[in-house]
Amino acid sequence: MTTSWKPGFVLLLIFSTGCKREHRVFDPGVAGATPANGTILNEVSAGQRPAQGAPLAYQQSAYTVAEGKRLYQAYNCVGCHAQGGGAIGPALMDAEWIYGSSLEQIHSTIVQGRPNGMPSFAGKIPDYQVWEIAAYVRSMSGLLPSDVAPSRSDHMPASVPEAAKEKEHPEQENQQPVEGPKP
C-alpha cells in the first residue's frame, strides 16, 4: 500500500519537468516588453555578468527558443553571423566566446554592442525578445538541452538542426580587460 503510489508520483515528477518546454507567454508584461537598454555600462570588464539575474525560463521553453530563431533571422543577425557559421561577425556555433557564453553575457552583448562591428540594439528590441535570441544563440553550439533546441528548420536547412548539435565546451573564459578612463 505504501509503495503503490510511488511509481505514479515518480512519473508525475518526470512529466512535470516537461511542462515548461511548451510554456508560452504571449504578453510578457510591461517590464519584459520594454526595449532592452537597462544593462549598466561602467568600468567592469567587457562581458562581465550584469547585475540582474537571467530569466532562465527563456532557455527552458522550446517556444521561446524557436521564437529566438525566427527573430535571429528577422532582425538580420544572419547578415553578419550567418546561420551560426560566422561571416563578417564571429561564428556562434563553436566553443570560442570572446564575451562570454552565459545567457546574461549574450544578452548584454546584444544590448550593448561590442567593438569592431557588433552594433548596440539598445532601445530597439523588447527585452524579452533579446532573451529569446540569446537563448537561441546558446542552442547553436549545443548548450541547451536537445528537447528545447529547435529540431527542424522552417526554411531550407542550412546546417544540422540545433537539437542535434554536439555540445561545445567553452574553455575557461579570460575576461578581456578594459582600460579605465584615462586621466
Partner: protein
C-alpha cells in the same frame, strides 16, 4: 426556389460563395446548386419511399410471412433496383461533367494583358505586391487590402513566406493554397465595384482565424488614382504632434519590422505602413482602422491577437498619442 434561398439571411454578403461577384464564382455557384438540388431531390425521394414501405408494413399490424420467391415480383424488383442504379450512375455522371466544365471555365481566364498581383501569406497577415519588372520604382506594396479594377482580368500569383496558407475570397473564386517555395496562380475577375472579404482557408497556427483581407474593386479611374497615391513616399508630418510621432516611430522597436518609405525604416518583417491610414482595417481584417483600435493595437497587440508577431510596446502616454497621430497621417 433559388430566389427563396437567396431571401434567407446569410446567403448574401461580402464573404459567401452564394453571392458571386465574378464569372468564376458564378460558375462555381451553378455547380454548387446543381449538386445541391440533385442530392436534395434524391434524398427526399429515397426517404419518402423508405417511409412509405415502413408505414405500409406497420399499418398491416401483423408479422410478415416468411419470404417467398415469386417470379413476377422478383422481376419487378429487379427492374426497379436496376433503373434506380441506372439513374444514380447518370446523375453522378451529370455532376462529374458539370464539375469538369466548371474547372475548365474557371481556369481559362488567363490573359497576357492581365493585371498581375503577388500575394505572400505570412503568419498572420497578407503581403500584397503589384510587381513591375520594367519600372521597379513603380512597385507598390501594401497589406491585407487588394485593390483591383472592376471588369479586368487579374492574375494573382501567390506564395508563402512561412507555412502553408490558403487564399480564399468566396465571392470571387475558389481557394488557392499558398505554399512556401512554390508559386500558385489564380486568375480572377470582379464584375462590379464593391468590397469583398477573404480569409485564410488552411489552418496556419495560433491566429489563423484572424487572418483576413479585403478585395476592393473600383472603376479603372479610381484604381489608377489609388495606385498613383500608393506610389508616393509617406507624406511629411505636418503637426508638431505628428513630427514627434515620427521620432517615436524611428527610435522604438517599430522600425525593426516595418517600412515607411521616405524614412529610414526599411524592414520587411511586418506590413508596409507607408499608407496605412488609407486602409480600412488593421491587424489583417481584425480591427476597424480608427484611433482607439490603432492605439490599443500598438500598445499591446498580444491582448488582441495572442501569439501574433507584434510585440507589446509599453511607452509613455504622450509618446503613444503622438505616434498614433503620425501613423494616422500616413494616408
Amino acid at each position: 426556389m433559388i430566389a427563396l434561398l437567396s431571401a434567407v439571411p446569410g446567403f448574401r454578403g461580402p464573404q459567401t460563395p452564394l453571392d458571386p461577384a465574378g464569372p468564376q464564382a458564378l460558375h462555381i455557384e451553378h455547380t454548387l446548386f446543381l449538386i445541391f438540388w440533385i442530392t436534395s431531390v434524391v434524398t427526399v425521394v429515397v426517404l419518402t419511399v423508405l417511409a412509405f414501405g415502413v408505414l405500409r408494413q406497420h399499418a398491416k399490424g401483423e408479422i410478415p410471412p416468411p419470404f417467398e420467391v415469386d417470379p413476377q415480383t422478383e422481376r419487378r424488383a429487379t427492374w426497379i433496383v436496376g433503373s434506380a442504379i441506372g439513374v444514380t450512375v447518370i446523375l453522378l455522371f451529370v455532376m462529374m461533367i458539370s464539375s469538369f466544365i466548371t474547372s475548365h471555365r474557371t481556369a481559362v481566364l488567363a490573359n497576357s494583358s492581365a493585371l498581375k498581383i503577388n500575394v505572400y501569406g505570412h503568419e498572420w497577415w497578407w503581403e500584397i505586391e503589384y510587381p513591375n519588372e520594367e519600372q521597379p520604382y513603380r512597385i507598390v506594396r501594401t497589406a491585407n487590402e487588394i485593390h483591383v479594377p472592376a471588369g479586368t482580368i487579374v492574375d494573382i500569383h501567390g506564395t508563402s513566406r512561412d507555412v502553408i496558407h490558403s487564399f480564399w475570397a468566396p465571392n470571387i473564386h475558389g481557394k488557392k493554397d499558398l505554399l512556401p517555395g512554390y508559386w500558385n496562380d489564380l486568375t480572377v475577375e470582379v464584375d462590379h465595384p464593391g468590397t469583398w472579404r477573404g480569409q485564410c482557408a488552411e489552418f496556419c497556427g495560433l491566429q489563423h482565424a484572424h487572418m483576413a483581407f479585403n478585395i476592393v474593386a473600383q472603376s479603372r479611374e479610381d484604381f489608377n488614382n489609388w495606385y498613383n497615391a500608393q506610389l508616393k513616399s509617406a507624406s511629411e508630418p505636418q503637426t508638431p504632434q505628428a513630427i514627434h510621432g515620427r521620432e517615436v516611430f524611428l527610435s522604438h522597436p517599430c522600425m525593426m519590422c516595418h517600412t515607411i518609405r521616405g524614412t529610414t525604416a526599411n524592414s520587411t518583417v511586418g506590413p508596409d505602413l507607408t499608407h496605412v491610414a488609407s486602409r480600412s482595417m488593421i491587424a489583417a481584417g481584425t480591427l476597424v482602422n480608427n484611433t482607439g483600435n490603432l492605439t490599443g493595437w500598438i500598445a499591446n497587440a498580444q491582448s488582441i491577437k495572442p501569439g501574433c508577431r507584434m510585440p507589446p510596446n509599453p511607452m509613455d502616454a504622450n509618446d503613444l498619442n503622438d505616434l498614433v497621430a503620425y501613423v494616422e497621417s500616413l494616408r
